[in-house]
Amino acid sequence: MKSAVIVFPGSNRDRDTADALELVSGKRPAMVWHADTTLPAVDLVVVPGGFSYGDYLRCGAMASQSAIMKEVRAHAGKGGLVLGICNGFQVLTESHMLPGALMRNAGLKFVSRPVTLTVEETQLSFTRRYEKGQHVSFPAAHGEGNYYADEETLDRLEGEGRVVFRYAPGDNPNGSARDIAGVMSEKHNVMGLMPHPECVVDPLLGPPDGLAMFQGLVEALS
């Protein structure tokens, strides 16, 4: 599996994401700077977490206009896989590569704690190693993770099986509509989620619930 991690000014989960990808694939991903105008030939692009452009204007708004995002959009247009984690999810919604928007947490507080998620869809490359309905624990660390879309869009996402992760009942940390923690694109090749699977890939740091996501990707892309 060849992968790339996009690096914006203010990204801070880029190296952990690269470590997770290297751990499962044995290959160090290409680190691609936001101002670059070409993307190396890769199977997977990850837009990592952090505070790109200091969250100015809106989280992910500036990053969505950066030069490299044109290439990421083209990669997705050709069916290439794109994963957005936390700020990466915000960047993908701001880029209109995923539906909806991520708003200020309903409690107005930055949330930094493990959250329990239910895996809703397992037919895609990102989640093929999980069981449908399985509970996993990923750390959440965000102030703007409150997923919003209009009712019609939410109905469509649910009807089309595009809600990939939900916060487990009672564990919605940010007021997200219908407990949505992660969604995917119509073609199933772009996925975004707020919590951080890349932080839980080493047993040293607790149950490595995130490992299966990266292992699934390697499996799907080899």
């Binding site: 204007l57 809106r58 708004a61 206009q65 947490n105 919003y148 879309a149």
Partner: protein
């Protein structure tokens, strides 16, 4: 030319910050305060004097970057 862009959340989109401001105002004794919605004001300076062109440009700026039209609406005010 100078322009002012007002960006606010669409009706029906929950505004937790507005709600917190409302609570705070009530707490300060301003009991008459009902619903509060907050937003952003962006002031811009534009070159040229073609107002129609400026309006079209500002609309494009809002659609492309200044507002997220999934959740926000915008109003443009142009001053000579």
């Amino acid at each position: 030319m100078k322009a002012r862009v007002f960006i606010t959340l669409k009706n029906g989109v929950l505004d937790p910050q507005g709600k917190a401001i409302g609570h705070a105002l009530n707490g300060l004794g301003f009991g008459s305060v009902g619903e509060v919605r907050q937003g952003k004001v962006i002031d811009l300076e534009l070159a040229g004097s073609d107002t129609e062109r400026a309006k079209a440009d500002l609309k494009a700026m809002c659609e492309k970057l200044l507002a997220n039209t999934v959740i926000e609406k915008y109003e443009i005010e142009l001053k000579q």
